[in-house]
C-alpha cells in the first residue's frame, strides 16, 4: 500500500543524519561534488541522509544544484 510505505519511510530515522546546521554549512561543497558526478553520498553519508529526510534542506540543495548547473527553472 502506497500510504503505508510513505508513512513507514517518513518515520524511519537515520542515525547518520547530521541535522540542518551541519548540512547547510557544507551544502556548497556537497552540491559541487554532486554536480561534478563525484560520489558525494559516499564521502558525506550524514549529509546525504539529512537531505533525504529534511524537506526544507532538500529543497535548498535542489535549488543550489540547479543554480550551479545553470538549469532553467
Amino acid at each position: 500500500m502506497n500510504g503505508w510505505s510513505a508513512l513507514e519511510r517518513f518515520l524511519r530515522t537515520d542515525p547518520r543524519d547530521v541535522g540542518c546546521s551541519q548540512a547547510m554549512d557544507m551544502l556548497h561543497v556537497y552540491a559541487e561534488l554532486v554536480a561534478a558526478g563525484e560520489p558525494a553520498e559516499e564521502r558525506y553519508p550524514g549529509i546525504a541522509a539529512h537531505l533525504r529526510a529534511c524537506g526544507p534542506c532538500g529543497e535548498d540543495f535542489e535549488g543550489l544544484l540547479a543554480a550551479i548547473r545553470g538549469e532553467a527553472p
Binding site: 500500500m1 513507514e8 530515522t13 535548498d60 540547479a66 527553472p73
Partner: protein, 215 residues
C-alpha cells in the same frame, strides 16, 4: 556525525573575487555590482522554480527575488572572511541566495498563514501519506494508532511540532518563525518524534520492527 571538509587550494576565479571584494572604493563597488548581477538571476530562477508550489505570483515573486539577492549580497560581504576555498566562490555565494529565498518564503507564509495556529486537521492525515480513500478499511486502524501514539508518546512540544508540520502541513521554516526557533531545532524535535512514533507503531505490530538495524 561531524563531516568536516578539507580546505582545498582556492581556484583562480575565486581568488579573483576575493581580491576584487577586498579592493578599496570604486573597484569594490564594481565587484559588488558584478556579484549582484550574478545573484539576482539565481534568485529569480529559484523563486520561479519554487513558484508553482507557492501562492505567490507576479510582482510579489519578483520583489522576493530582489530582496533575496540584496540580502544575500549583504550576507556574503559580511562573511567573505569565512570562505575557505572548499568550493568555487560563486557556489558558496549562491548558497546565500538560496537560503534567503527559503527564509523569505517561510516569512511570507508566517505573515499569511494558510492554517490557523492551534487547528488540528487530523482528517487530512491519510491524504498526507497518500492513503487510498477506497481502501480505508485497510489503513483506518493504522491512522488511529498514529494519532494515539502522537498523544501518548510525544512531549507536548514534540506533539505541537508534529501536528503543525505533518497534520496541518505548515512549512517547517514557517513553524520555526512562529515558535521563535530555528530550522535545526524544529528538525531535531521532529527527528526525535519520528523515532518515538516508529518505535511505538512497531511495538504494536503496525510497522516492521527493524530495531536490530539501528533505526
Amino acid at each position: 556525525m561531524p563531516e568536516a571538509a578539507t580546505a582545498a587550494g582556492i581556484d583562480a576565479e575565486s581568488a579573483g573575487w576575493l581580491r576584487a571584494l577586498a579592493e578599496p572604493g570604486a573597484a569594490r563597488e564594481a565587484a559588488l555590482a558584478r556579484l549582484h548581477g550574478l545573484l539576482l538571476p539565481i534568485a529569480r530562477r529559484e523563486v520561479a522554480r519554487r513558484g508553482p508550489r507557492l501562492a505567490i505570483t507576479g510582482p510579489e515573486l519578483d520583489d522576493l527575488a530582489h530582496q533575496a539577492a540584496a540580502d544575500a549580497l549583504l550576507a556574503i560581504t559580511g562573511k567573505v572572511g569565512q570562505f575557505r576555498g572548499e568550493s568555487r566562490f560563486t557556489t558558496w555565494a549562491y548558497r546565500f541566495v538560496i537560503f534567503e529565498v527559503s527564509a523569505k518564503i517561510g516569512r511570507h507564509f508566517w505573515r499569511h498563514p494558510v492554517v490557523p495556529l492551534g487547528a488540528e486537521q487530523w482528517e487530512r492525515l491519510p491524504d498526507r501519506f497518500g492513503f487510498d480513500p477506497a481502501r480505508e478499511a485497510e489503513w483506518r486502524d493504522l491512522a488511529a494508532a498514529v494519532r494515539r501514539a502522537v498523544d501518548t508518546e510525544l512531549t507536548p512540544r514534540q506533539r505541537e511540532v508534529f501536528v503543525a508540520i505533518v497534520v496541518n502541513g505548515v512549512p517547517l521554516d514557517t513553524l520555526a518563525l512562529s515558535l521563535g526557533s530555528s530550522r535545526n531545532a524544529i528538525y531535531k524535535m521532529m527527528f526525535d518524534a519520528r523515532r518515538k512514533l516508529r518505535a511505538a507503531l512497531a511495538a504494536n505490530g503496525y510497522l516492521p520492527d527493524d530495531s536490530a538495524r539501528g533505526s
